[in-house]
Structure formats: C-alpha cells, structure tokens
C-alpha cells in the first residue's frame, strides 16, 4: 500500500488533474485506489460527480468521531473510490491545531484504510501549513507537479529544503513537469536544462492541453472520454514512470 500526495505549495499547477487521472489509470490496472479530496474547493469531487459534503465536517472527521470508511463514495469506475471534500476543510489547519500530535493525525486516520486499498492519493490544497505537515507525515510519495517557469522552480527548491530541514526521510519527493507548453521557448529551455540538473524530475511531462481542460465539462477522468489522445498517453507514461520509481525505491 502506498500513499501518494499530489502536492505543490503553489495553486493551479495541475494537482487535481494529476490525482484524478493517475487514480483512474491505477484503478484500471487493478490497483484498489482511493482519492481523498482534501481541497475545500472540491475539484476532484466535482470531476467524479460526487457532492463535496462530509457528514460532521472537518471537526468530526479529524476527531475520529466518524469512521473514514463510512464517508467514502464509490466513483463510476471500478476499483476507484473517493473521500469527498467539504467546505469546512478550509479550517482543517485550525481543527488540527486543537489536537494532540496534529502532524500524526492524518496518518492515524488513514491507517485502517491501508488494508482495503493498494493506493491512496491525497489531492492537497496548495500551501505549507499544519495540514501539509500532516500530509507529509502520512505519505510515502510527494508527487509534485511543476510548471516549467522560474517561479515554480523556486518553490521546488523550497520544498526540497523543507523536506531536508525537517528530516522527512520516509518521504520520496517526485517532481514532474505539468502544463508544459512546448510552443513556449521558456518552457522548452527550462525542461531541457532542469532535467539534466535535477535527475529526480520524471521524464514524462504533462502537456498544457485543452483535452485536459475538458475534464471540467465532461466531469470524468481524461481516460474515460479520451482513450488515445496525447494527454491520455502522457498520464499513462507518467504512471508507469512513477510506478517504476516507487519499485526502485523499495528495492
């Protein structure tokens, strides 16, 4: 069982499409998969047509008053479930702050689910906060989409430093380029130079594409409405590469 956090300090970098599309591909390959939509905006929940509502809200959820399993909703796809978002998740930091050992809270809540699922993907809100610390403690992999711009790269450096400073040795940081537009000279240059400089960045880049944007209209993962497109293939390659990275890390 692996817990993957789709995370970046910045917003609008493709975290939700990464979570939804990788979860869909993994489920298709028989991995029993759960997506936890931790973002109060509830974009993953929207893509799966699930109401962004959690009974009892963030307070009861974090307190452990509600069995996490009872809040999970099946998506329209085999092997793929969703723990929906709730608007109250905007206060998750405050709720966590009231608990003892707040950074261990998510890990504890997730532990009963590790038996049932092969893969849990956390779709995270963008920030570094008590919630992200809790996410880091619970996750095995920090999958971080980065747009090939100088600013995004700075945030990657920040993230690396944070992991190092906080001695999060269990956490494997896996960055990859997202929303990459090869028509833009700057994107091309940054991808080429940085791939050499940072070999930990995955080879596969997810393109900036209208196919992916259509997810909002279709309210489905990309692969469910586009079997063969360039973007669909890119996500499949990304999953294969991520899988190989996870396996290598284990051995």
């Amino acid at each position: 069982m692996k817990i993957i956090a789709s995370y970046n300090i910045k917003g609008g970098v493709g975290k939700t499409s990464t979570s939804v599309n990788l979860a869909y591909i993994a489920a298709q390959q028989d991995y029993k998969t759960l997506v936890w939509d931790l973002d109060p905006q509830g974009a993953s929940s929207y893509y799966f047509r699930v109401k962004p509502k959690v009974k009892g809200g963030s307070k009861q959820l974090i307190a452990g008053d509600r069995n996490l399993d009872g809040l999970i909703k099946a998506t329209d796809f085999n092997n793929l479930d969703l723990l929906p978002a709730d608007f109250s998740f905007r206060n998750l930091d405050l709720v966590l702050d009231e608990r003892k050992k707040p950074t261990q809270r998510l890990k504890k809540l997730l532990s009963p689910l590790t038996e049932e699922y092969d893969l849990i993907i956390l779709d995270c809100p963008p920030n570094i906060s008590l919630l992200s610390e809790s996410i880091f403690a619970a996750s095995d992999i920090l999958l971080s989409p980065i747009i090939p711009t100088t600013l995004s790269l700075r945030t990657l450096e920040q993230l690396k430093k944070y992991i190092k400073d906080n001695k999060l040795k269990h956490l494997q940081l896996v960055p990859f380029f997202s929303m990459a537009d090869r028509r833009k000279k700057m994107h091309r240059e940054i991808i080429d130079t940085l791939s050499e400089k940072h070999p930990d960045i995955l080879q596969t880049a997810i393109p900036y594409a209208s196919d992916i944007e259509r997810m909002g209209l279709e309210r489905k993962p990309l692969g469910a409405y586009l079997k063969k497109g360039r973007s669909t293939v890119a996500y499949q390659l990304l999953w294969q590469e991520l899988l190989a990275r996870m396996n290598n890390h284990e051995t």
Partner: protein, 511 residues
Amino acid sequence: MTAIPLHFELPDSQTAIKFLKKLHKTIDFEIASQQYTIKTFYDSFDWRLYNADILCEFNQSKSASYISLIDRNSGVTFVLEEQQDVPRFSDQLQNGRLKTQLSALLEMRALLPVSQLPHQVHHINVLNKDKKTVLRIRLDEYESLANHITLQPLKGYDKALARVSLLLQNSLQLKTTTPSATLDHALKYQGRKAQDYGSKLALKLDPKMRAGQASIIIYRQLLRTIQMNECNTIADIDSEFLHDFRIAIRRTRAGLSQIKHTLPSPIVAKYAVFFAWLGQITGPTRDMDVYLLSYEQYKATLPISLRADITPLYAFLKDKQVEAQKELAAKLNSPNYRTQLANWEQYLKAPLAKKDRAKNAHISIKELADQRIRKVYKRILVEGEVINDSSPAEALHDLRKTCKKLRYLMEFFQSLYPKDKMKFLIKSLKDLQAVLGDFQDYEVQEINIKHFSEEMMANNIPSNTFLAMGVLVQHLDAMKCAARDQFAKQFTLFEQPENQRAFKHLFAHKG
C-alpha cells in the same frame, strides 16, 4: 463497508425488455452495455469451491473473458481476473489473487465445467440528478432459466440500493432469490444438484436393520463411488479420481472381510478376488501419482544448491506415471473388468431374500457392528502392545493394516452411534494411523527412490541428480526414524484407559 448485492428473479412471463420499460417509468438509468455472454460454472468434482461457499464463474463475451469468484451467501464478487480460458489446474494460472484462492482450496483437483449457460447480459447504471452512477443493475437474461437481476450497490450509496430494492419488490412484484439460484436451477435442469459427490462415506443405517440388508446398502454406495470415478480415472483428469476409486475398492474389500458372514461365502470369495485384483492393478499409477504430488516437498527438503539437480527425477516419474496410467486405462476398459463389475452391480440389485443365507445376515447390524469393532479394536491392542524398539518393520505394517480395518468399520457404522463419541474415537485412531502411515510411506519411498536411481543410471542422467536423490533418501530415512520414535508415544495415547473405557462402553452390545 459496501452493502451486499441483492438478487431478484423475473417471473417467466416477463422479458428483459418489459422489465426495462417498467423500470424506466420510475428511475433514471442508462444502459452501459448489452452483450451476449457464455457463462460457465466451474468446480472440482467433489465441489470443493461450493463447499467453501464459493461460486466460480467463467464469463466469455466478445469484448472480454474473465473468471470471477463469488461468495455464495452474500453474492459479493471477491476476485475477478481476465482470462482467455480456464486451465485444468489452478497452478497453471498466473500469480495473483485468483491463483492463491483457488490453489488453497483445490490443491491437486482439476477445475471442471459444471454447467454452461449462454445468455444476454445487460449492465444498467442507475443515475442521480448529477448523472452520477449510484447503483449498478446486472440483468442476466437466459433462454430457458429464470432471468436473474442483481443489484450491485456502490459504496456510500446505500439509499439508492434501498430505494430500487423496494421498487422491485413492491411496485414490480419481483421475488428475491439467492446468488446461487441460477446454478441451482441449471443443475436441476441437468437432473443434478450441488454437492452430489463427496469422498466421505455418508451412510445412514438403522440399528435394527438386518446385517445382510445393511451390508448391501454399504456395498451399493461404494459401488456408486467406483462408478462415478471410473470414467475420469481412465481419462486421468486428476489424481483424486483414482484415489477415490481406490479407496472405494479398499473399503469394499474391508467390508467383504470384516462385515463377516452377511453375504454367502462363495460370493464373498469371488468378489474378494476381483476387488483384490482391482486394488493391485490400480496400485502402480497411484504410487506414481503420490511421488509426483510429493515432488515439490522432496525438492524443498534439499539444499538450495541441489534443488535444480533433481529435475530429471520428475521427468522419470512422469514417464512412469504415463506408462502405468496407459496400462490401467486398458485394464479398466477390458471386458473382464466391465463384466465382473456389472455382475457385482446385478448381485447388489437383486432381491434381498436370495442373499440372506449367510450366518450373520439376520442379526441386527448394530449387534454385528458392536461385535466386529470390539474384536478388531482388541486385536490392535494385542498387536500394538508387543511392539518394542527392536520389533521388525513388518509388525508396524501389520498393525497399520489392522488399524485401517477398524477405521473402515467405524466409518461404515458411524451412523449407529452418538456422533460426538464416534468422532472422538475416530480422531484418536486417526492420530495413531498417521504415525504408522508416515512410517510405512517413508520406508517405501526410501526403497523406491533407490530403485529409481538404479533405473535412471541407464538414462545418461547427470551425476548431481543422484547426489540430490541420495540427500533425499537420507531425509526420508530420518523422517522414517522420527515416525518410528513417535509410535510408542502415540500408541500409549491410543491405549490409555480413558479410550479403552470409551471403546468398551460404546461398542458393548446391550441387546
């Protein structure tokens, strides 16, 4: 937790189209797919999967073929794997959940088709106002069986399940049914029923029944087992057909010698010879089957560096098994075998009066059972008590045979005694038999592996194979000695006063 699936049956008069039209009036749904599918139920001959509450289905359609394992009580599919066909043995499956689940239950038994049903499958998604699927309905439309509806709940959408279930029951007047209803109906259609074969003896005798009549009932059931296993023994479907075939023969032989004087002596003499011959001609194939079944264990006893070297032994054993099986098949297809078995069947079918001439034929079966079990039990005590560390191996082998006789007698007559007491005594006998059986098996295997190595010498086999076989012989010898050491302890347990009292009390004939 996801709720369990619910099952309904459509009445004969209602077609799938009619049902869908009615459903459309009240709920929003989309038809996800409709396809012609051939469903085949699989199980072992002795219903190992059904006995473990599992249904194994192979569904073949144009788009996909898959094997699914379904909990027979809840209807929950707990394993589903794509497969192009169904291999005969579970170890031929690729590694995965299906293989793990099936191998644990089936062991050496073949997976055989039980019933094949071509049908139309309709997959229906019930939608909410966001067009999200909140319940799946599977409609299996058969030509000659009742159409089956399965409501497949989705996690977190229990209300949708409850709503549609109520609708089917109240508005559409459908009856609920069980997950295995389709298989049960199909078997009925074939004149069969599930669990219609088991290797255990399931005799129900009346204590007051005359011994002659009871013995005929026993022989008839054993004959049925012989006949049910005969065809697949000849076809060599899996090793257990021959195994069960041989056990029924051994039991028949034990009956003829131990249920004394219930049939006329000439009949006993005639068929004792026939069944002894059957025991003898089936022996070589069974021996080879046992070696092949033990092969992986043999390999595991060797040091890792020698494991690959023993491979030629497998090929040698397999060749011998094929040869022995060919000879056995010829003998079981011979007129001699067929005529004698048919005569035995005729004899058992003939009216009882003609057979009741033997000395014990008229006494009650309970009286005879008491007598025989007491006597053979005493013989075990006498034979066992004289065995010490310097006794020859034959003494242990003779005791093993006597124990087997007692075991068969106790199994024949189990229904005449309180179940729990009988179970307890059989268990104590079984423990003793296990030690004696191990001693005999290891000794025979040790001797035969040595013989095989001599035969293999002529076949240009690499020297390391013989080295590996030598290590194996050493291991078998150590195991044999360990079994021998265990004997005294196990026999002391068997002859403990508590057991003796229990035997004496249970089998004392009280008139």
